[in-house]
């Protein structure tokens, strides 16, 4: 074989990088765990039931621990699925979701304390749902369509909750409980668990 020209060498490097990137995108595209989402949905329903029992829709003593437990469950299930599918844990769809969701959840926490301090806790359900939905929609660009639709629906449910705060708890249950479960089941059936 002749000595490769500089142009050939650069093209080869770029082509190998393209192949690596494409394979990574394809393999992590379905790496979001459906089981994880269903379990997180269960936590959402349990939190909604506890809030309903206590007669306080946005009870922070319930929803903050529920959020922390949900994040831990999501991380554990996604790591397990990535290992099962033999794909990198910290790459592609999961990495992007994590990068987008971290500041989103931070802003959610900030608004939670601001709205509580301002004496408007009735706006918390809508704020949580809409912010979470915005984060998921942005972060799911490289993931399966179901995740993107879940984000859009969360924004919609959040918008309703902001203008109809009296439905707050029902919408929290529908979003963090029902929607997580429905989308999780869809991913389980279509994308291997």
């Amino acid at each position: 074989m002749t000595i490769p020209r500089h142009e050939d060498r650069e093209n080869a490097k770029e082509t190998l990088e393209y192949i690596r990137r494409t394979m990574e995108s394809a393999s992590t595209f379905t790496a979001v765990s459906g089981w994880g989402l269903v379990t997180v949905g269960g936590v959402g329903l349990l939190a909604a039931w506890l809030a309903w029992s206590g007669n306080q829709d946005a009870d922070l003593r319930i929803w903050i621990p529920a959020a922390i437990v949900s994040v831990m469950i999501a991380v554990a299930f996604n790591v397990a699925k990535a290992r099962r599918q033999d794909v990198p844990i910290w790459s592609g769809a999961i990495r992007r979701l994590a990068w987008v969701m971290t500041p989103t959840l931070g802003v959610g926490a900030l608004l939670t304390f601001a709205l509580t301090a301002q004496g408007t806790p009735q706006l918390l359900p809508g704020t949580w749902l809409a912010i979470y939905g915005a984060g998921v929609t942005a972060g799911a660009e490289f993931s399966v369509r179901a995740i993107r639709w879940m984000g859009v629906l969360f924004v919609g449910i959040g918008a309703v909750a902001l203008f109809r705060p009296e439905w707050g708890l029902a919408l929290l249950a529908a979003g963090f409980g029902g929607l997580h479960m429905v989308i999780g089941l869809d991913i389980m059936l279509r994308h291997g668990g």
């Binding site: 074989m1 002749t2 000595i3 490769p4 142009e7 050939d8 393209y18 995108s25 595209f29 369509r145």
Partner: protein, 107 residues
């Protein structure tokens, strides 16, 4: 790489960027739907269809058509021939880099 001695040795069918993307994505996943493949490769319906058909005609990928929720669904899978073609292509790319490195060390 058009016109160089090196590029003449490459599999022209998967040297084209979109077809290389299809084969690479299918090498990573057992099977992908048309919609998922389109999303991963960020391309249009028409572009993906044209290139997938060429790969199918060459026997590099296998296409199966069916229905899901009463909507038509097309799934793609890499064949053994397609996998060998990608492996051969990767070896060529690695050989180019290795020879370039050797030439650099000699100079």
């Amino acid at each position: 790489m058009a016109g160089s001695a090196v590029s003449d040795e490459l599999d022209r069918l998967i040297h084209e960027r979109m077809r290389l993307g299809i084969v690479s994505a299918l090498a990573a996943e057992d099977s992908m739907s048309f919609a998922d493949l389109k999303h991963v490769l960020r391309t249009s319906d028409g572009n993906l269809s044209v290139h997938a058909r060429k790969l199918e005609e060459a026997g590099y990928i296998k296409v199966s058509k069916g229905y899901e929720d009463r909507k038509p669904k097309t799934d793609y899978r890499l064949t053994a021939k397609g996998r060998r073609a990608l492996e051969g292509y990767l070896e060529k790319m690695e050989a180019i880099l290795s020879e370039a490195r050797d030439a650099l060390e000699r100079s």
